[in-house]
């Protein structure tokens, strides 16, 4: 049995809740995606199968709508609203991102729907929450993020270049909170028998997902500044991104700090035959033979400690300049150093580690008679299988099936 078998989720189609509903569907919930006549606009989002646009060819749509059945309901018609109420009567959870006052105007907001289904869990995702008129303004992933902090921390040392946003972060982050909220409310309902209304703010979600940028201000009124490839910081930090011999980068993270790390690094340097080329090798050796832990507070003031730590960085730089990024990553990790290769998404996807964990998941598309490889589970739950139970639905594909289950005759 899957974790969510038998739980019915109704999603009012939107890019602001599609991912949350997918995450629940892939864990076994019965997700029914409701689209208006004409379909969800996201059906027209690139990229497309074989680069040919089409209602059922969007790969964006495919990814965010796995494990769902699809129906068409026109909420602007009374007949459609009645059908929607019937659907809600059969549902446990409603996920929606409608304009703030639309559902109330249609007589379909929480107060109306909880009369039909008293223990309904209704989750609304809006840019600023249901209680803030700013939610009525047009907003996109980019503008939501700009308002709420992440881009301020992301970019380059050169501040004449703009801050950078991580694409789709506002959409993803808000929906992570939507899923946490749904599951929390399901547990509470399991104990107390009650549903509830949950108001998720997308800007608030990004605001509390900025690590030191927020708490440096909250605690000490300090402002972090963005830096190339590393954490925004109240004080400049040393570079961590290394260009490797194959033109790819590696992130060296926290440089060596412990004698055993200097020992492993020195041994690796010698094994590669590079020790002669590193003028600072003598300091690396001092680090390797150091007794007890280093006092990090002496960094900068104590010449010896400073030289040893500098030698660690220089050794990594030298090796990186002579090895492909993947080899540098593996070698560093074998020496006990937390270093990472900067992969592109597909390079990560093809990596042996993720393949071995079963992250590549084949799914047969009956509509195009092709087997497509999808990204797999975000968590390996040993007792509750994650699975893509079906491909994304075509527009209205399950009208007859779903409305039939509600007792309607076609």
């Amino acid at each position: 049995m899957t974790a969510l078998t038998g739980l019915r989720v109704v999603e009012l189609g939107s890019e602001r809740v599609a991912f949350a509903a997918k995450l629940l569907g892939d864990m076994g919930a019965d997700v029914i995606l409701v689209e208006p006549p004409g379909g969800d606009p996201a059906r027209a989002y690139p990229p497309f199968l074989d680069d040919q646009p089409g209602e059922n060819r969007s790969l964006w749509w495919w990814h965010y709508n796995t494990s769902k059945r699809g129906v068409v309901i026109d909420l602007d018609l009374e007949e459609g609203r009645e059908r929607f109420r019937q659907l809600i009567a059969s549902a446990d959870i409603l996920l929606e991102a409608e304009p703030r006052q639309r559902l109330a105007a249609l007589g379909l907001d929480y107060d109306d729907l909880s009369a039909v289904r008293p223990d309904l869990i209704h989750v609304a995702v809006t840019p600023y929450g249901r209680g803030d008129a700013l939610s009525d303004l047009p907003a996109t992933d980019l503008t939501i993020m700009a308002a709420s902090g992440p881009p301020w921390s992301c970019g380059y040392d050169d501040h004449s270049l703009p801050p950078i946003r991580g694409p789709m972060q506002a959409l993803h982050t808000a929906q992570h909170f939507a899923v946490m909220s749904v599951l929390t409310a399901v547990l509470h309902r399991g104990v107390a028998g009650k549903g509830q209304f949950i108001d998720v703010s997308m800007t608030a979600a990004c605001n509390v997902t900025t690590e030191a940028a927020s708490y440096s201000w909250l605690v000490a009124e300090q402002t972090v500044q963005r830096q190339t490839g590393r954490h925004a910081s109240t004080r400049p930090s040393g570079e961590t991104q290394q260009l490797c011999a194959d033109g790819r980068y590696a992130n060296t993270g926290v440089p060596p700090r412990a004698p055993k790390e200097f020992r492993a690094l020195l041994a690796w340097l010698r094994e590669l035959g590079f020790a002669e080329d590193l003028p600072e090798a003598v300091f690396l050796e001092m680090g390797a033979n150091w007794e007890g832990p280093f006092e990090l507070s002496r960094l900068g003031s104590d010449d010896e400690v400073t030289a040893i730590f500098g030698a660690g960085r220089e050794a990594l730089k030298l090796i990186a300049s002579r090895l492909p990024a993947q080899d540098f990553f593996i070698g560093c990790q074998r020496a006990g150093l937390a270093v990472g290769v900067v992969n592109s998404p597909e390079e990560a996807f093809e990596d042996e580690h993720f393949k071995a964990r079963g992250f590549q998941v084949p799914l047969h598309h009956d509509d195009f008679d092709r087997t497509i490889t999808y990204p797999g589970a975000p968590y390996a739950m040993r007792g509750s299988p994650w699975a893509i139970s079906r491909r994304a639905p075509h527009l209205g594909e399950h009208d007859a099936e779903v409305f039939g289950e509600l007792g309607e005759t076609p």
Binding site: L4, W60, T140, A220, H353, A356, Y379, M381, G383
Partner: protein, 434 residues
């Protein structure tokens, strides 16, 4: 802290003014978490559970004074005062939890842990692989202690697979999983994410995994082990790009990519972050369609707006470099909040790139949401922390206490849950067990 003081803190914490549940209990108040998590990737997960009412008992090592968690006594510091119990980030990520110490080198501490596991629903940790096994508390042993225990481990590469012994931090997770690569400008090195996005997000997935396992157990009576690998949670965030690779064979590593302030899925133009008047001031503007563009062009009303190349959506997408040059010139002579106000009035998607002070102290929307509650810390006094970006109509979140000082709740937890007397607890402390 006495229980009177504690009640005082709970009653006077501003967070306690967020909507209280009618029966006075949180959504998760029937659950107890035996919590070894730390840093942000783990502590962030159990912070959600604590805020929603779970009893989270965080366990730290008294010998190393909890320093496995590098945030324990780390910056930022309130009023510049340093100390083990003064870590600003630690307090932020651990609000709402109880804190106890156990020296698991000692058999008596192991007995205490076994008794705690027996009365807990979940054991959570984000150590490197193998740490709990070395203490004698692998999943099989935990299951002997409590048959339906839920064990959620969270580490960079997970406990299974060729890289499971590798070490990671947030930036390493982001690098290997493809996230670092996706943020940047063409022909430059990756900008990365500017912070440990995957510590936050790994924590969210860990919270989801714990909640999913609890739902599963509520419905079947079965516990389970969840092997969470932060890199895998991160990789799953590239969905459409990965399908573009597996279906169309198009790699993300290609000329002109990434260009992450632009938007290709769906295409929007103009779409970017543009300079404004002042030092490091920026505004984000996005035109989704013709309507957005016509309203923006009507507002700017300069000759370039009617260039034929910008007349239709496809043209604006194809000519974005030229479009951006014009728009930059227009924004750079104006203040970011001025641009924001004018574009908002014209119904065009816009937002000033807000600095921490602007979004925390000067933005009525975050204050109105109650996003920065104050907790009363035993040593630091009043400190503001990150709240939760949601409100529940029946069982809203709150932080009934601040992040715990090292071993702050030893006596309370050991006496009230495990039946020790205060004298016995004092002896355990003297003998280095707790």
């Amino acid at each position: 802290m006495t229980s009177e003081q504690r009640n005082f803190v709970a009653a006077n914490s501003p967070a306690a003014t967020s909507v209280p549940s009618p029966d006075g209990s949180g959504a998760l108040s029937t659950f107890r978490i035996c919590d070894f998590t730390g840093q942000l990737a783990g502590a962030g997960a159990t912070k959600w559970l604590a805020a929603l009412g779970a009893e989270v008992i965080r366990i730290e090592d008294p010998v190393r004074q909890g320093r496995w968690d590098i945030l324990r006594g780390g910056p930022p510091y309130k009023d510049g005062e340093r100390g083990l119990d003064r870590g600003g980030a630690f307090n932020n990520h651990n609000a709402g939890k109880y804190g106890i110490t156990l020296n698991l080198r000692d058999e008596r501490a192991k007995d205490i842990l076994a008794r705690l596991i027996e009365i807990s629903d979940v054991v959570s940790e984000n150590f490197a692989k193998g740490v709990l096994e070395r203490w004698g508390f692998g999943y099989d042993r935990m299951r002997e202690i409590r048959g339906d225990i839920i064990y959620v481990s969270n580490c960079g590469f997970g406990h299974v697979g060729p890289y499971s012994d590798f070490k990671t931090w947030g930036p390493i997770v982001q690098a290997v999983s493809g996230l670092t690569f996706t943020n940047g400008l063409p022909d430059r090195e990756p900008a990365g994410w500017g912070y440990s996005y995957m510590d936050h997000t790994g924590g969210y997935y860990m919270a989801m995994a714990i909640l999913l396992a609890l739902v599963h157990r509520q419905r079947t009576g079965e516990g389970q082990w969840v092997d969470l690998a932060c890199t895998e949670s991160a990789l799953a965030l590239h969905g459409p790009a990965l399908l573009d690779w597996t279906v169309n064979g198009r790699p993300s590593r290609r000329d002109g990519n990434p260009h992450s302030n632009r938007n290709a899925w769906p295409p929007m133009a103009p779409h970017g972050i543009y300079p404004c008047m002042g030092d490091d001031e920026w505004v984000a503007i996005a035109c989704r369609d013709d309507g957005d563009w016509w309203r923006l062009a009507g507002l700017i009303a300069e000759p370039w707006c009617s260039e034929p190349g910008f007349a239709v959506h496809a043209g604006r997408v194809a000519n974005q470099d030229a479009l951006d040059t014009h728009l930059e010139r227009w924004t750079s002579g104006r203040g970011k909040f001025d641009v924001q106000e004018r574009l908002r009035a014209a119904d065009v998607p816009v937002a000033a790139v807000q600095k921490p002070q602007e979004r925390i102290d000067l933005d009525p929307s975050t204050e109105g949401f109650g996003l920065w509650p104050t907790v009363q810390h035993t040593v630091m006094g009043d400190v503001r922390v990150d709240g939760q970006p949601v409100h529940f109509s029946e069982t809203d979140w709150e932080y009934p206490r601040a992040g715990p000082c090292l071993g702050e709740h030893n006596e309370e937890v050991l006496t009230s849950l495990l039946g020790f007397t205060p004298e016995e607890v004092a002896t355990l402390a003297e003998e280095g067990v707790i």
